[in-house]
Subunit: 359 residues, 2 copies
Amino acid sequence: MKESHVNMNINDAKGTAVVLTDNLYKTKSAKTAHGLVRGSTRFKVIGIVDAPTAGSDAGDTLDGSYRDIPTYFSIEQALERNPLPDYAVIGVATPGGILPKGLIKEVKYCLSKGVAVVNGLHDLLSNHEEIVHLAKAHNTAVYDIRKPKNYADNNFWSPNIYDLTTPVVAVMGTDCAVGKRTTCGLLHQLCNDAGIKAEMIYTGQTGWMQGYKYGFILDSTLNDFVSGELCHAVLSAVANEQPDIVLMEGQASLRNPSGPCGAEYLVSANAKKVILVHEEKDFYHDEPSWGKIKSLESEITLIEAYDAEVIGICLNTCELNEIQAKQKVETYKKKYNLPVVAPLIEGVTGLLPVIKNIL
Amino acid sequence: MKESHVNMNINDAKGTAVVLTDNLYKTKSAKTAHGLVRGSTRFKVIGIVDAPTAGSDAGDTLDGSYRDIPTYFSIEQALERNPLPDYAVIGVATPGGILPKGLIKEVKYCLSKGVAVVNGLHDLLSNHEEIVHLAKAHNTAVYDIRKPKNYADNNFWSPNIYDLTTPVVAVMGTDCAVGKRTTCGLLHQLCNDAGIKAEMIYTGQTGWMQGYKYGFILDSTLNDFVSGELCHAVLSAVANEQPDIVLMEGQASLRNPSGPCGAEYLVSANAKKVILVHEEKDFYHDEPSWGKIKSLESEITLIEAYDAEVIGICLNTCELNEIQAKQKVETYKKKYNLPVVAPLIEGVTGLLPVIKNIL
């Protein structure tokens, strides 16, 4: 029996889920849906709602790997099943973080069927009176993942981070949406498969949704507490799990104009090693008006100016075929004299030696 | 007649004020009180409450310049005057941003006398039931400057920043509390006195309290909106005031571990010129456990890695006498081949040529 219907303790959410995409599954806006399809220990995804790709397998659409996750034309169609899923998860980012009308309608439909809704937009469901009313009426709940914490529940930075002997690696990128979280997840898996106990620190809503235990949602944290929350996540993971290595999911990029991020990892979490995810493209956010992406060389130089070292490069080759991707990897290896992998075609196994090297 | 007693529109606050310091006036924790003593167009300071320096002139205690601002032993003593001030302003930062017991008592006393209270701590007065009750009972108000905006009232970053032709200068520092805001204010005054129309973008509570028109409180902004709010402040200042130059108040420092800050200025606000405030000291936050402050050379290199240029250095010489300070300035001029000034002994006039040079 649920005692409260809004602002539920988000960490209680776990179960089967249908994912809402506002018809954007094939775009980078659906990063959260993609992450859930790739794998989650928190939610077992039983279907995706996305009219443009309805009828296909969501894994196949994403990266060519069948995952037995059907895509439905509408939420009504998705919920014509028995038993109902435990949750409907909003799996897209929207312009300005606002809940668009189409999603509001779908959210209401889910609640009316008694299905709880998980929301990672800045626009909180708990601020929509009608939605809260519906959740209560149907004895279900809404979970606002991006609800900012009360200031007193945040942590300040602590110099204890300097006492860590566990290697802390930042998985950073040269732009938003180039695959930092996916790469970090692959590295986490790679380490654990190889008998290296790794903890991944999530820093976005998708990481939380995928079920990683330590982390916080960086972009909905009051700026004063970003370093403290990151530091606290790393220290907690090390204290509780005694991992061999900590991998931190990066956000944005050091010079993405809409929200530069990265110094927190290198300075506040004291990461001395960086794995850099890069996609060859012209503009930040693929938007000419945002300006040209700076060169990979200059990104490495900037990271070095923060006293950290790039130990490997992951190339996002989503725009290339396999032959082109492999050629690109060879070119980069020669140019940068660093281990280079293309996770989409070969995984990240090629980075295992360099990881073993820092343990 | 006030309609609401809590969460008043903060921009309505303007008038006479007494400043509460929790007995910390002589420490760096009282930066806000110091800023108000140095000058504000929003609040006319009629007194400081600080038992350790009671009886002295607050200006004289701060920097040896008499300013006709008496310091009182207690809030009771400060309010034994007619007419009462319009506001009591909390002028200190406290550990964790929490309202300590002593200040709570003083706040309550002020409200009981009908004096409105302005609070810049993370701990919001409007969350203290008893305080809200008192404000209502005495027909006065509380103003929480650090209350985070609703997400929808925040601005996202806009590429329009690239179209600006007005020079944008970031006044950054090599640590917290080295004089960035004071220096920025002095440069603002210097420009305007020289017939150069300057706008200063405030980024902290003290800048707001001093009456600067454009800006936001960076550390209580959700991280996703920091770049957008900064960009919006600059674009608004330029659109409305058509200044010859925009000066931005920096926060923390690029490598301060408790909250690195600076990329937002260089990347999101596209500042290509930096005036760097530096104090020769060993440790961040004067705290050995926080780690050694990196060299000024490496700070300049890091700024250059962000494609910006340091055009002048301001030395904080608070620990030196006048002769030592002047010698230090000469040493720095030779070493860095840049204009160098020591604002505390000679102001910032020495930077006028380099400012004129970028107009």
